[in-house]
């Protein structure tokens, strides 16, 4: 029997889970996250293998999901020295790179900014010829001054030749020591947002390298020689090589893994997942086993970006949410006692009325000392509880894509707060192992490939073009390491472009499949 290992490094805990070939959960546990990350991962793996009593050599795949890169951006720590090159002049000069980015980040990242002639039109024609001499001059200027370069060319999601050529020239002058991030690999149409995401990507290359190498060392020190993968925002995997080039694609893997883990545990591919924590409940949608992606620009560390992120509706309602009663008016949250629940909640001897106290008093869950809340007015408690349930039901309704009832899966420490029947839910699931849904999500991830292009679609060629687009996505997926027999189209979107005749349509296709075992 061979195994796979899933690790999720969070701010507080490092979770680990072992699955067998049939994807049965063999063992799972949590250890505290350590300052150097690596030690925490080592501890988790060490304890897992020992307690499950299996041979480390039998672990063939190891998957890591981590928020290390996200934290580096939010905290502005350990960021690389970067240069920013935008290709597209004369277009693009009316808004400079980093416009609208918070000043503290601009001061770190904005020391070398250039706009170079080149770039493409929406149909792939050149705006102007790429100014190669200019790129070469810039490269010489950057020698020894930066670790990382972000290159963004106008309409590179349609035609990326100028980005590729610029990278070649930069590589030629600067060698392999400087890493180069290309926007066409990072995001879709929307220059400012894609460029921002590419710049952030360039800034976290070192953090990603340290995390990846720490993971490999922690595995090696436990005698494990597994194929290593990293989880990305959309619930699929990346190789180490690709992660070191495009770590930005990992920044939202946390919520994604929890959604995917919940899906796996409850055996639902189309469902709404509610991850109930101490302070918030995060509500997301699974479509064919993948998180629905946000359609609007997502801010990260105060920066407007447009890369792939799961669409999460967060509400201020968790296990520690504070309840205030003033006459007839009940206010639930949005503030929470957070990790001080064990001191401040009434059932634990404190004096703050929390959602946990309400649920315990009504006999919905058993925690702390129920006698401490026995004196509370039952009618009032019912009113509060109904309001809590309505909040979750409304949050669920908001993320739905149709009016039909669909399965709802509750995971996370606070999931016991809620009843097994909810409005809008065809069935409510509260699976076992819901506490480590994150690590499970990382262990079960698939490999994916995606394409996004603008096509001219007519009634006659519609079928043919959509098939061609699908085939391109499938090829990408197999190239990434998927078993060619097990690749499926998981998402397809075509958006007609307003005001353009010729039926210009943006087509986006994503395919995913199980890892090829060789």
């Amino acid at each position: 029997m061979n195994y796979r290992l899933g690790i999720d490094v969070g701010g507080t805990n490092t979770d680990g889970v072992l699955l067998d070939e049939q994807m049965n959960v063999i063992h799972s546990l949590k250890t505290p996250t350590t300052e150097d990350v690596e030690t925490g991962i080592y501890n988790t793996i060490n304890q897992l293998v020992k307690e499950a009593n299996i041979d480390g050599e039998k672990i063939k795949f190891a998957m890591l999901g981590t928020t290390q890169c996200t934290n580096a951006i939010v905290e502005r720590k350990k960021l690389n020295r970067v240069a920013i090159i935008r290709i597209g002049a004369p277009a693009g000069t009316a808004i400079k790179p980093l416009a609208g980015v918070p000043d503290d980040l601009k001061n770190i990242l904005g020391n070398y900014m250039y706009i170079v002639e080149g770039g493409h039109e929406f149909n792939g024609d050149e705006i102007s010829i790429l100014n190669e001499d200019h790129i070469r001059t810039i490269a010489k200027e950057l020698e020894g001054n930066v670790d990382s370069i972000a290159v963004t060319s106008i309409f590179s999601p349609v035609n990326k030749t100028h980005e590729l050529r610029a990278a070649e020239i930069l590589r030629d002058v600067l060698g392999e020591d400087v890493s180069i991030s290309l926007s066409s690999e990072v995001g879709s149409i929307g220059l400012i947002e894609r460029e921002n995401a590419t710049i952030l990507n360039a800034s976290i290359i070192n953090v990603a390298r340290m995390t990846a190498e720490g993971f490999e060392k922690a595995l090696g020190n436990n005698g494990i020689d597994a194929k290593v993968f990293f989880c990305q925002n959309d619930g699929t995997l990346m190789s180490k090589e690709y992660t070191l080039k495009y770590p930005i694609l990992t920044v939202a893997c946390g919520p994604t893994n929890s959604l995917r883990g919940a899906s796996f545990l409850s055996d639902n591919k189309d469902a709404i997942i509610v991850d109930v924590g101490g302070t918030t409940s995060d509500v997301g949608v699974l479509v064919k086993g993948f998180p629905r992606q946000s359609s609007i620009a997502v801010e990260l560390g105060g920066v407007r970006t447009n890369f792939r992120m799961p669409d999460i509706n967060s509400i201020g309602l968790g296990g520690g949410t504070i309840i205030r009663v003033d006459g007839d008016s009940i206010t639930i949250g949005p503030d929470s006692v957070g990790h001080r629940l064990l001191e401040e909640a009434i059932v634990f001897g404190g004096s703050t009325l929390t959602t946990t106290d309400v649920a315990v008093a009504l006999g919905k869950m058993n925690l702390g000392n129920p006698d401490r809340v026995a004196h509370l007015d039952k009618e009032l408690l019912e009113a509060i509880y109904n309001q809590m349930v309505e909040m979750v039901e409304e949050a669920i309704d908001k993320v739905k894509t149709s009016g039909d009832d669909i399965p709802v899966v509750l995971v996370g420490g606070g999931s016991v707060l809620f009843p097994d029947k909810l409005k809008g839910a065809s069935k409510v699931y509260q699976p076992e192992n819901g506490g480590v849904a994150n690590a499970i999500g990382s262990a079960i991830s698939q490999i994916s490939g995606e394409i996004e292009k603008i096509f001219s679609i007519s009634k006659e060629n519609r079928e043919e073009i959509l098939n061609k687009a699908k085939q391109l996505a499938i090829t990408e997926t197999i190239k990434a390491g998927a078993d060619s027999e097990k690749v499926e189209i998981v998402d397809m979107e075509n958006v007609p472009l307003a005001y353009l005749p010729g039926n210009a349509t943006r087509v986006k296709v994503k395919a995913a499949g199980d890892l090829a075992i060789d």
Binding site: A94, N123, K400, A498, L500
Partner: protein, 363 residues
């Protein structure tokens, strides 16, 4: 005359999104361009209509093409300037000031970016008081102002002077040229003298947009209901409150057409509202009543934040409040209704002012 700085731009952008009535293109690019131009060259002079002389040459500046292209191919900032220089040559006169052609979407902000970068004043007026999809749907056209001579300019330096026999031909030819020039261009259009502006423009629309933005911000700060405050400012009506339960979009002749179904909540529980749009929102109706119809303005606001929701941003589950605002009197004339009323857009309805429709509804 007063000065428009960065804070005013931020507020104008919110008002522009609201008066965009669901379309008009995301004001973001225009806002960022204006902010950069003001940072580099200083604030913009905003002129009241009373401050312009009858023989001053005033030329609106606008983008044409796909907003989706513009968010990727950001302008160089030179396009509008090239168009103005070329038009000055054709007119053989100096242009005294510019102005927006529409008070909605990205086109509200772009003239401010041009104005800041070349030190030209902007007249506090526009030609729509809202957003509309076609070149001839402006109050200048209603008053017989010629669309052309107009100049189209791209970021590469190409420009084209166009003289057309009427507004519809100008629209047709310019639309094709825009495609060839890369899908998003700037134009100098509807050249007017000060007298024509005074007769045909919609007054103080930039100030109105700024006030909308400030009202929403201040209402939130003072914990008032921002939607009610905006309605007071605009003399508008709450048409319907509910949640989006169905949305259908498709392209037809270069426009995004579609319908959204909104299920009533609160006062409107038990009823449905149907919103029909062609880039902009054009009709709002219940199962048996029309609530508001073009050229009156129909805006969809997020019930919680009061921020405008575009037709592209509409999605299932969104809690929205649909508001109706009376259009400027210029649109409620026979000619105005002919150019931008329900029948022009292919709807089998007569125009009825929103205030009458609301009286009939009796809510």
């Amino acid at each position: 005359m007063r000065l428009i700085g960065k804070e005013e731009i931020e507020n104008i952008a919110i008002g522009a999104a609201l008066l965009g009535t669901g379309g008009g293109g995301d004001p973001f690019v225009g806002k960022m361009m204006a902010l950069q131009a003001i940072e580099e060259h200083g604030p913009v002079q905003l002129l009241d209509v009373d401050e312009i002389a009858d023989d001053d040459v005033i030329v609106p500046s606008a983008m044409m093409g796909a907003p989706t292209v513009m968010i990727e191919k950001i302008p160089s900032g030179e396009e509008a300037l090239v168009a103005f220089k070329a038009l000055e040559k054709v007119l053989n006169k100096k242009i005294k000031a510019t102005m927006p052609i529409e008070a909605g979407g990205v086109n509200s902000l772009l003239p401010l970016a041009l104005a800041a970068s070349i030190g030209l004043p902007v007249v506090d007026a526009d030609g729509m008081g809202r957003a509309f999809p076609e070149l001839q749907m402006v109050t200048f056209y209603l008053n017989g102002v010629s669309t052309t001579p107009m100049v189209l300019a791209d970021e590469k330096g190409n420009n084209m002077v166009l003289n057309a026999i009427d507004g519809k031909w100008a629209e047709k030819i310019a639309r094709s040229a825009t495609m060839v020039m890369g899908g998003s261009i700037m134009n100098a259009i509807y050249p007017m003298n000060g007298k024509q502006v005074k007769e045909s423009a919609i007054y103080r629309s930039l100030t109105l947009e700024e006030n909308i933005g400030r009202t929403i911000k201040e209402a939130k700060y003072n914990k008032q209901n921002p939607i009610e405050e905006v309605l007071k400012l605009l003399g508008g009506f709450t048409l319907f409150t509910g949640k989006v339960t169905d949305i259908e979009r498709n392209t037809d002749g270069g426009f995004v057409r579609g319908t959204a179904k909104i299920e009533g909540l609160g006062n409107d529980k038990g009823e449905n509202c149907y919103l029909e749009f062609q880039n902009e929102n054009l009709i709002a109706k219940t199962d048996d009543q029309v609530l508001c119809i073009t050229p009156d303005l129909i805006c969809v606001l997020d019930t919680e934040t009061a921020l405008p929701v575009t037709t592209e941003g509409l999605r299932y589950g969104a809690r929205v409040t649909v508001i109706g605002i009376p259009a400027d009197e210029k649109w409620r004339t026979e000619k105005g209704i002919e150019v931008a009323g329900p029948r022009y857009f292919g709807y089998d309805h007569d125009f009825t002012p929103v205030e009458n429709l609301m009286k009939a509804r009796g809510k």
